[in-house]
C-alpha cells in the first residue's frame, strides 16, 4: 500500500562506497544533484520510486533510501525539511568541502 505523501517527493540515499548523498534520477541512475532527481507527485509515483531504489539496495549500491518532500521552484528542487537542506548544502563552516553542486541554491543560509 502506498504511503501518504505531502507534496512532491524525490528519493534520496547514500552511496555505499563513499557515503555520498545521491538522488534517484529520472534516467535510472543516482545523481549528486537534487535537480536531476526524478520527482513523484502521487502516492503511487512515490511508491514506484521506493521500489526502484530497493533494487539498488539489494545490489549494494546505495544504503538508507528514503523519500523527501521538496518544493518545485521551476528551476530546481528545494527540500522542505531543514535537515535535508543542510544535508545537501555540505558543512557551512568549510564551504570548500561542499560536495553538492547546487548547495547554495538549496540553502539560503
Amino acid at each position: 500500500m502506498a504511503k501518504k505523501i505531502k507534496g512532491p517527493q524525490v528519493l534520496t540515499a547514500n552511496l555505499l562506497s563513499d557515503g555520498m548523498v545521491v538522488f534517484l534520477g529520472s534516467d535510472g541512475t543516482w545523481r549528486a544533484s537534487i535537480d536531476a532527481a526524478d520527482m513523484a507527485r502521487t502516492e503511487d509515483g512515490a511508491a514506484a520510486l521506493e521500489a526502484r531504489a530497493a533494487v539498488f539496495v539489494r545490489t549494494n549500491h546505495v544504503v538508507d533510501p528514503y523519500l523527501i518532500a521538496v518544493d518545485d521552484t521551476g528551476s530546481g528542487f528545494v527540500p522542505v525539511a531543514f535537515r535535508e537542506r543542510r544535508r545537501i548544502a555540505g558543512p557551512s563552516v568549510q564551504p570548500f568541502f561542499n560536495t553538492q553542486p547546487n548547495g547554495r541554491l538549496a540553502f539560503a543560509g
Binding site: D18, G19, A81, F82, S92
Partner: protein, 551 residues
C-alpha cells in the same frame, strides 16, 4: 606511555583483518546494511550527513609524535587535510571512503592505534585526566588503570551488545578534569587515612536528554578488584538495563529507576558470586603495565627559570599565554603546556595535518615525546622544560596554535552539529564561531575570566552543554534553528547540571543573549568571583531579567 607488545600487536592486526573481511562481505552483499551497521559502528565507522566518518581511539587521550604524524598522514591521504579532536579525547575523520577504511586501520595499527569500540553499544574509549602523570595535584597516576580497562573492554565477549553505549572515565587527582560524575562509570583514585590509594566508584552519570550525576556505589574499592567489580556492574546493566526505549537505555535510567541503594545491592550480590581471582589480572600484569608509565627521563633542573622570567617581562603576549595555557608540573623545572585548538572564529577541535605535524615535532623535541588530547578539545604537551617555553610558544604561534585562551570565553566546546552529524537538529559550530568573534578580544576575555561555554547541536549533548557554565542546545522548530540556554552547569569535582533559563533564541540572537549574560556577570561579580561562583551566589534571576528584557 604504553607500548604494544606482541600480544597487543597481533590482537589489533587480527581486528583489522576481521573488519576487512566484514567490509568485503558488505560490499559483496553477504552482509546486509542492517547486519553491517552494528559491526561497522563497533569499529568507529559512522555514516554521517554527507559521508562516512571514522572515529579513531586515542586511549585516555595519550599520543606520541609518531602517532600524531600518522594521524596527519591519514588526514592528508584519506580525508581533506584535517581532523577533529572530540570531547572523548578521540579524533574523527570526516570524509573516508568505505573501501579505504581497512587500509586506514592498517596505518593506525602500524603506530599502535585502532578504532575499536569508538562507537556502538559497547564500552567506549576510556577517558582520563589529560594531565595524568604530570600534574602536581595527583594521588596516583590513573593511566595504568585506564590502560587495564582499555584492554579488558576490547572485544569483551559478554559486554559488546549492551542496551546502549557505555563510557568510563578515571581520575587520580583532587581536581576533576575528566568529568567523572557525568559518566556511566566514574572512577576516582583517592587516599585513605592509612595512606593507601583505592577507587571511589560512581555509576549512572550522563548527559543526553536526561542529564544525571553519578551516584557513589562504592566509596572504597581495592585497586586490584577493579575489573571484577566492573564486571558485576556491567552484568547487572546488561541483564536489566532497558532495551525497549533507546532514550531510557543508559545505565543512569536503571540506577534512577531502581534507586542507587537497590542498584548497589544488586551489584554487590553479583559481585559476591563472581570468582574474582579468575577475572583479575595477576599482580605482575599490573606491574607490567605500570612500568610503561614510569616517569619519563626528566632532567634535574632548578624549578625557577631565569630565561622564562626574562621573556615574560619582555613580551606581554607570551606572558599572557603562560598565564592561561601553562600549568604547574610535579617535576621541578617543568611545566604542562596546553595548546588551544580554539582560535577566534575557528572550528573548535579541528586541526590541520600541518598543525598535527607541528605539534608532533614539538612533542618530540620539547615534551619527551608525549601529547595529550583533552575532553575540552585542546591538546597538551605534558612535559616541557620551563626554559623551553618561549621557543615552544614561538613555534606554536607560527602554526596559529598559540591562542592564550585556555579556560576563557572562547575556549568553547562544540559538537560537529548539523554541519556533519546525522543526528543533529541544529548547527553548533557557526554559533561557537560567532560567540568566539564577539567575545574574542583578549583583554575582555581575560577580564571576564574562567568561563566554560559548551554547545550541543542536539539533545544527545555531545557538546556537554549540561556541564557548561553557559550551555547552549541547538534545536529545530518549523525549519528554523533555535538555541536553548542553560546556566550553572559544571563538570568538575563540584559537578552540577545547568538549568534552562527560558525560551530559546534564534541563530541571529543567541550570541547577543550570551553577551548579555557575560556582561551581567561582569556587572554583579564581587572581588575575584568567577562566573560560576557568581551564578551560584545570585542564581538565575538577574541573568534572566537582563536577557529577556532586551531580547
Amino acid at each position: 606511555m604504553y607500548r604494544y607488545d606482541e600480544f597487543d600487536t597481533t590482537f589489533v592486526r587480527q581486528r583489522v583483518d576481521q573488519f576487512r573481511d566484514q567490509v568485503n562481505r558488505r560490499v559483496s552483499g553477504d552482509l546486509t546494511e542492517e547486519q553491517f551497521r552494528p559491526l561497522r559502528l563497533m569499529n568507529g565507522l559512522y555514516l554521517q550527513l554527507h559521508a562516512y566518518m571514522l572515529r579513531v581511539a586515542i586511549p585516555y587521550g595519550t599520543l606520541n609524535a609518531r602517532q600524531m604524524r600518522q594521524l596527519a598522514f591519514i588526514a592528508d591521504e584519506y580525508d581533506k587535510g584535517y581532523g577533529h579532536f572530540t570531547t572523548r579525547q578521540n579524533i574523527q575523520f570526516n570524509w573516508p571512503k568505505l573501501p579505504d577504511v581497512p587500509d586506514i586501520l592498517e596505518h593506525l595499527a602500524d603506530v599502535e592505534m585502532h578504532a575499536i569500540q569508538t562507537s556502538g553499544n559497547c564500552i567506549r574509549n576510556v577517558t582520563a585526566d589529560q594531565w595524568a602523570g604530570a600534574t602536581a595535584d595527583e594521588f596516583e597516576d590513573p593511566r595504568p588503570y585506564a590502560e587495564l580497562m582499555r584492554q579488558w573492554s576490547s572485544l569483551h565477549p559478554e559486554f559488546s551488545f549492551l542496551p546502549r553505549k557505555f563510557k568510563i572515565a578515571v581520575t587520580g587527582a583532587a581536581a576533576d578534569r575528566a568529568a567523572i560524575a557525568y559518566h556511566d562509570i566514574g572512577l576516582r583514585l583517592k587516599r585513605n587515612a592509612a595512606g593507601e590509594t583505592g577507587f571511589e566508584v560512581m555509576v549512572g552519570g550522563g548527559m543526553g536528554r536526561t542529564p544525571m550525576l553519578g551516584a557513589t556505589v562504592r566509596d572504597w574499592l581495592q585497586k586490584e578488584e577493579l575489573l571484577a567489580y566492573l564486571e558485576a556492574i556491567m552484568r547487572v546493566y546488561n541483564l536489566h538495563g532497558r532495551r525497549d526505549n533507546k532514550y531510557k537505555a543508559r545505565i543512569k535510567i536503571l540506577v534512577h529507576e531502581l534507586g542507587a541503594e537497590e542498584f548497589t545491592r544488586q551489584v554487590e550480590d553479583e559481585y559476591a558470586r563472581i570468582d574474582a581471582p579468575r577475572i583479575m589480572p595477576p599482580p605482575q600484569e599490573l606491574t607490567r603495565i605500570k612500568t610503561y608509565f614510569a616517569p619519563p627521563a626528566y632532567e634535574e633542573l632548578a624549578d625557577q627559570s631565569p630565561e622564562l622570567a626574562r621573556r615574560m617581562n619582555e613580551n606581554t603576549d607570551f606572558a599572557q599565554w603562560v598565564d592561561r595555557n601553562v600549568v604547574a608540573h610535579k617535576q621541578a623545572g617543568y611545566a604542562i603546556v596546553n595548546i588551544s585548538l580554539k582560535p577566534v572564529g575557528g572550528v573548535p577541535g579541528d586541526a590541520s595535518a600541518a598543525q598535527m605535524r607541528a605539534v608532533a615535532d614539538l612533542a618530540e623535541d620539547k615534551s619527551l615525546d608525549e601529547i595529550r588530547v583533552t575532553h575540552e578539545q585542546n591538546l597538551v604537551l605534558p612535559h616541557v622544560r620551563k626554559a623551553d617555553l618561549y621557543e615552544v610558544w614561538q613555534s606554536l604561534k607560527a602554526h596559529d596554535l598559540a591562542d592564550a585562551n585556555i579556560g576563557l570565553a572562547t575556549d568553547i566546546i562544540a559538537c560537529p552539529g548539523l554541519d556533519y552529524c546525522a543526528l543533529a537538529t541544529a548547527r553548533s559550530i557557526p554559533i561557537s564561531q560567532d560567540i568566539s568573534r564577539r567575545l574574542g578580544d583578549i583583554t575582555r576575555q581575560r577580564d571576564v575570566g574562567d568561563l566554560k561555554i559548551k554547545i550541543s547541536g542536539c539533545i544527545n549533548a555531545c557538546g556537554h552543554h549540561h556541564a557548561g557554565h553557559i550551555g547552549i542546545l541547538g534545536l529545530e522548530k518549523r525549519g528554523e534553528e533555535y538555541y536553548q540556554i542553560t546556566l550553572g552547569g559544571s563538570g568538575d569535582e563540584n559537578a552540577s547540571i545547568g538549568e534552562i533559563i527560558g525560551p530559546g533564541f534564534s541563530s541571529e540572537t543567541v550570541t547577543d543573549a550570551v553577551e548579555t549574560i557575560v556582561d551581567t556577570y561582569v556587572g554583579l561579580r564581587q572581588d575575584g568571583e568567577t562566573f560560576l561562583d557568581a551564578y551560584r551566589r545570585v542564581g538565575p534571576d538577574p541573568f534572566k531579567e537582563a536577557v529577556y528584557a532586551t531580547h
